[in-house]
Symmetry: C2
Subunit: 186 residues, 2 copies
Amino acid sequence: MDFATARFAENGYHPTSVAEIVTGLGVGKGVFYWYFQSKEELFLEILKEAQTDLRRAQQHAIADVDDPIRRVELGIRATTDWSAAHRDFYKLTQFAATEERFAPALRKGQEIAIRDTVKHVNDGIERGVIRDIDPDYIAHSILGLTGQLVRTFIHERGQGADEVADAAIAFILDGILAGDRTATPA
Amino acid sequence: MDFATARFAENGYHPTSVAEIVTGLGVGKGVFYWYFQSKEELFLEILKEAQTDLRRAQQHAIADVDDPIRRVELGIRATTDWSAAHRDFYKLTQFAATEERFAPALRKGQEIAIRDTVKHVNDGIERGVIRDIDPDYIAHSILGLTGQLVRTFIHERGQGADEVADAAIAFILDGILAGDRTATPA
DNA sequence: CACTTTCTTGACCGGGCGGTCAAGTCCCTT
DNA sequence: AAGGGACTTGACCGCCCGGTCAAGAAAGTG
């Protein structure tokens, strides 16, 4: 699966043939169809495993933190760290979104991420530390903005995960307006 | 090109064959290869046209506005409007990002959008109405967040472009922190 | 009218695809 | 030792892909 992930990420799903995968691995084609029903199943398996792995990293990062804003922050840091360490997977998710048969699996993972984030946001609103806006919009904004920053600054420009997380968090907390509100607490 | 766009968006680039396009149009295959050198060229053509069209819409929207924050806002509104009216194109961009041969064309369009945004942000920083953060990060954050909101709320949930633009702008201007800073001026 | 250019057709081609399967090999159990 | 499930091989299959091209229809030109 690691090898297939690399090939899919580099060449795209369709252009990567099963033959290419098995010969690259030095095995026969039969062994592939012994472990997977189809090429499609392999891809879904990869997708699922990666999503599970990312979520595990996020959960671990926020495990013993109570403050909701801090939880959001640590979740973002876990995401940038993980994404920097798993570049390949990013390309796969982008492709998966373009094919109807893969989109549901993807959506499921994203919905979980959204739900996690919404929980923290709601918590923050209740405690009065987050503005009372639709938490769903906030969660999607956070995820979208983080995703774009990861894509551009980590994957395309090779910047560090910490630096990118800093920028995302600064933006999320304060927006862009100049004002005399005290700066974000570190 | 309109028909091909629809097929690509619905079925994906690779699964949509040239044969499918020409028979759907009721013409012979030769006529396709008379006007396009290859399937790849057709796709690039579609991509280019759409990007040009979106940019035109943005430029038109901000044409006679001076305030940089308002320019950013109107650019976002133009983007959500355009995206709502051109759902298909969104899928194509997502796919294009997954194949090395299409990525450059895409990147070029995005760089232009970033450059446009950076210009307004820099202007805003100079005038003291935008916080002095790296404009590149700000621009990417704005584009990423807007993209995600469009994807989820307009394309998946069918919400109105205005509503989504409102949410994007509220988030961008003020972030999520609760505080006594006066609300965004309309 | 003849003649050329522009445009259109669809049968056809080589090739590579995802997937199958008869024929083993390996190793565990008795 | 012998039997049998777990695993592996790679030639092979049918299909359909992107792309070609000989043939001809339409439209323009004198």
